[in-house]
């Protein structure tokens, strides 16, 4: 008698099938597996029904807190229209695999082509791939791409790049012969003089982020030009929601643009699955990692879509491949595509504006609190900004959690000497009233 509900055939049918192929038992089928390798000793509970499983999961979910969230740091609590879930959860998308048989996968393939188009249009670049794991691994892949294109092995990484991504870059470059150098910020922006002092013909790429980790916006065109002057590339990490209104990396001259697509219709989901995106200029497409979909036609001239330029990939090139990546984040890319289609040209721009306007309101409210000052008062920002508190930001955040608010992120965790700096973000979901409550509680905590 079988216990699981996920088997195609019942026990009696299975016994008949065994008999038909001349096997006495299941053990017979495993005769090639040495007996000393086999075990029945698994200390695992009995299977549960769907009802019981959901009870367990609900009770775990209930152990997590619900707070009004002003914490961003590269990962944002945006609204997701219902149609995103309704469409992306269709089994025809959800339970398909990599479109190796293009005639039977035109749905997935066309959606990826539309996704690549959306990413190119957001970033003002000429081409995009079918997605990568997340913003951090996408930035690492951008770095590797720059090494391949230039044949050089040194990278200059701005300290405005998300510190979580920088720890990942250090981890990945540790086993490879790559000279990795970080360049500090000055006044919240990339330090031009420090870059100028390090830029020479050994540098493969400069890695920058806009808006940077502190939320500051920067026109990086001059830094990109300096990099190009010594034959280095400019690799960007960007926050896609900001591209609803801010200057594009393409307009600044970027060669490779990467980023975290979570804000485009993906839930926060405690860190994943997320969506790494990558865009580049046409001349570098053949050096780009990951899957790429291209338009073509059949013998009757009908337009269709296929995975293309596969000769770059691991299943053909093995250890000489551009990257070891096999899967992309197909379903996440589909969600982003549907999200952007629903938001549309005007809605996406308007959503970005609301994020920025709400953050501007929060900035004004918090800065008016005695003892609180803008960390970078002269800087422009999209939806996230830093304030310097009169005492340790971590302690203040703890006190505000007691009052039901996740007030932001303590910058000192990653930037020594900035223990009093609090980084906060607003999305279109945060209301004026919630900002007012945050301001009132912050003022009272600082007084107390």
């Amino acid at each position: 008698m079988s216990h699981t509900t996920f088997l195609g055939s019942g026990s009696a049918e299975q016994q008949k099938m065994l008999a038909e192929i001349g096997a006495k038992s299941f053990d017979d089928l495993f005769a090639d597996v040495p007996a000393e390798f086999q075990t029945a000793d698994f200390k695992i509970a009995d299977g549960r029904s769907e009802l019981e499983m959901l009870q367990v999961l609900r009770s775990l979910a209930a152990k997590n807190s619900t707070l009004t969230n002003f914490c961003g740091g590269g990962f944002y609590d945006h609204f997701i229209p219902a149609a995103v879930d309704a469409l992306a959860s269709r089994g025809e998308f959800f339970t398909a695999y990599t479109p190796y048989q293009p005639e039977a996968s035109q749905g997935t393939l066309q959606a990826v082509y539309e996704y690549q188009t959306a990413i190119a249009r957001l970033t003002d670049m000429e081409a995009a791939n079918a997605s990568l794991y997340d913003g951090g691994t996408a930035l690492f892949e951008g770095l590797m791409m720059a090494l391949r294109i230039t044949g050089r092995n040194k990278v200059l990484v701005c300290e405005g790049v998300n510190p979580i991504y920088r720890t990942m870059l250090k981890c990945y470059t540790a086993n490879l012969s790559i000279a990795y150098e970080e360049v500090p910020l000055v006044g919240g922006l990339a330090d031009r003089a420090a870059f100028a002092g390090r830029l020479d013909k050994t540098v493969a790429a400069v890695l920058v982020q806009n808006p940077n980790f502190f939320g500051c916006l920067d026109d990086l065109s001059d830094l990109v030009a300096s990099a190009h002057a010594v034959g280095a590339l400019a690799v960007f990490s960007v926050y896609p929601m900001s591209l609803g209104m801010v200057q594009t990396p393409g307009a600044m001259g970027a060669d490779v643009v990467t980023g975290e697509g979570q804000s485009l219709g993906l839930p926060l989901s405690f860190g994943g699955p997320y969506l790494g995106f990558m865009a580049t200029r046409k001349q570098y497409v053949r050096k780009m990692p990951g899957r790429i979909v291209g338009a073509t036609h059949d013998a009757q001239g009908r337009r269709g879509f296929v995975l293309t330029l596969q000769a770059r990939e691991q299943h053909i090139r093995r250890e000489k491949a551009m990257s070891n990546i096999c899967t992309n984040e197909g379903l996440c890319a589909l969600r982003a595509t549907i999200y952007l289609a629903l938001m549309g040209k005007e809605g996406f721009a308007r959503c970005a504006y609301q994020c920025a306007a709400r953050a501007a309101y929060a900035f004004d409210r918090l800065r008016a609190i005695p003892g609180v000052k803008a960390t970078y008062a002269d800087r422009h920002f999209f939806n996230e900004f830093a304030v310097t508190l009169p005492r340790d930001a971590g302690e203040v955040i703890s006190a505000l959690i007691e009052r039901g608010i996740a007030a932001g992120f303590p910058v000192g965790r990653y930037y020594p000497g900035m223990q009093n700096v609090l980084l906060l973000a607003c999305t279109e979901k945060r209301t004026k009233a919630e900002v007012d409550i945050l301001a009132a509680h912050l003022e009272s905590v600082l007084k107390g």
């Binding site: 996920f6 195609g8 959901l54 039977a104 794991y133 005007e346």
Partner: protein, 484 residues
């Protein structure tokens, strides 16, 4: 079918935002703004819903078609797992909260779920510990190679290369290369077994380890595993288990107890999380005790009082391979699946998967050339060579299946089988589905003899016929350029 961009009509809208947000002006200087809005589509919600619903119908999928794609374990994805990962409290949890002071207390349920999943996978694989961080199978392989490198550095070993059988998945050598190792290929015989003499000749003091999958990509349990492990361990090398084919031995064999030191699992294969048209996956990595110090940061730790914390203090760790704790939404689905499967369900899964593959193998053995003389494991591999005389290739057979509503098996892999056809039915499929498949292949083999051109023309029932891949690579039309 038109692209969403071709359907766009100026002025249409799908989403309405709240009437607010104008209470302060954004703090953005005009020169920091983009010149013009991104050219996204302008459509009503119904336009968008119709478009993507229609696109979805142009896909084969497990929910709609038999999908015996070898090496991919296209099993059914229970719907309850989708409900689980979308629960409020899980789907809306911010990943930075645990990094706030005492922040772990805000996410106890999530940390407990991660811890329990790690314990389940450790027990299933006979490993001491698991990390759930790797974001895909290949990412797990890379993590495994980095753990190997950290181990050897710590021991003062001078290691330069990793050994990989020629039948391995392409991700293995690619991951080893990105991990900083040279790759040396070990030849195998027609049954996919490694030549022991070739292995002995390839191994030296600079061998960091061996990456292999078991059952092999030919669907057969690897011979001489003990000898292989002894040879590798003899030079302080590490045995890496690629868990791509774990579904064959689930609940019966623990990789950690048969000589392997570390492994990656593909949650989107054996643990039933949806393939999503190519991701997201998850590739947790398990290790034996001696490799525990090298696991990525952070680690979920259960304290004496039953609460959970994240530990970032691991001086020997390879560091941060993912931004947070892995593809949490995928992990939740796998955990939900494992709760429902339970102890007895593990073995029932592999039993049924192996039975289904052997059933197909025996039914098709008279028609095509089976690689295995005897039993196979979870998948059966054939060569399409017997059809060669008719001028019909494996690719043509695959396209004929498409016309008959069956997703083709994996074809032309493994590379060492000419005209390879790799069939993995999984435990999910019923006897009728298998019989229909066998019947369809039988008819196609007959058709190949009678009218081979009919198969050369296939598919004819799909929205498009065979597509010009050479033109695609030459033209590089990767994004839509509006003519408006």
């Amino acid at each position: 079918m038109q692209l969403i961009y071709e359907k766009s009509v100026a002025g249409r809208r799908a989403v309405r935002l709240p009437r607010r947000g104008d209470d302060a002006r954004p703090k953005i200087n005009a020169k920091l703004l983009r010149a013009q809005p991104a050219a996204l589509p302008e459509l009503s919600e119904l336009d968008v819903v119709r478009h993507y619903t229609e696109l979805s119908r142009r896909n084969f999928s497990v929910d709609t078609h038999f999908y015996p794609l070898g090496s991919c374990t296209m099993k059914y994805n229970p719907k309850a797992c989708e409900v689980a990962c979308a629960l409020p409290g899980l789907s809306d949890l911010h990943p930075l909260w645990p990094q706030l002071r005492h922040g772990g207390l805000l996410t106890q349920g999530a940390l407990q779920l991660l811890h329990e999943t790690e314990r389940l996978l450790s027990e299933i694989c006979g490993m001491a510990e698991f990390t759930l961080q790797p974001l895909a199978g290949a990412h797990g392989e890379l993590t495994g190679c980095m753990i190997m490198a950290a181990y050897h550095r710590d021991r003062g070993n001078q290691k330069t290369h990793i050994l990989i059988p020629d039948s391995a998945h392409g991700t293995n050598p690619a991951s080893a290369a990105i991990g900083g190792y040279d790759v040396r290929t070990v030849p195998s015989d027609a049954q996919g077994n490694m030549h022991l003499d070739a292995l002995r000749a390839a191994v030296n003091s600079e061998t960091a380890g061996l990456m292999m999958t078991c059952p092999s990509t030919l669907g057969l349990f690897v011979d001489h595993l003990q000898e292989i492990a002894d040879i590798i361990h003899g030079v302080d090398g590490l045995m890496y288990y690629d868990g791509a084919n774990l579904n064959a031995i689930l609940g019966r064999v623990k990789p950690g107890k048969i000589g392997f030191d570390l492994c990656q699992l593909n949650l989107h294969k054996s643990f039933s999380t949806p393939h999503g048209g190519g991701g997201p996956g998850a590739g947790p990595v398990g290790v034996v005790e001696k490799l525990r110090p090298f696991l990525p940061i952070s680690r979920v730790v259960k304290r004496g009082d039953g609460t959970f914390v994240l530990d970032y203090d691991a001086p020997k760790s390879i560091g941060y391979i993912a931004p947070f704790y892995g593809n949490f939404g995928v992990i939740v689905r796998a955990y939900a699946y494992l709760l429902m499967l339970g102890r007895e369900g593990l073995r029932e899964t592999s039993d049924a998967a192996v039975l289904n593959a052997n059933y197909i193998q025996e039914k098709l053995r008279p028609l095509l050339k089976a690689v295995a003389p005897g039993r196979c494991m979870h998948e059966c591999v054939f060569s399409g060579e017997p059809l060669k005389a008719t001028g019909v290739h494996t690719l043509d057979l695959a396209k004929g299946l498409v016309d008959r509503g069956i997703h083709p098996p994996t074809i032309y892999f493994p590379l060492n089988v000419p005209e390879a056809i790799m069939i993995e039915p999984t435990e999910s499929e019923s006897r009728e589905t298998l019989d229909t498949f066998v019947q369809t292949v039988t008819e196609l083999v007959e058709l190949a003899k009678r009218d081979p051109d009919a198969l050369h023309r296939a598919p004819v029932t799909m929205p498009v016929g065979r597509l010009d891949e050479v033109a695609a690579a030459k033209n590089m039309d990767l994004v839509f350029k509006s003519t408006k």
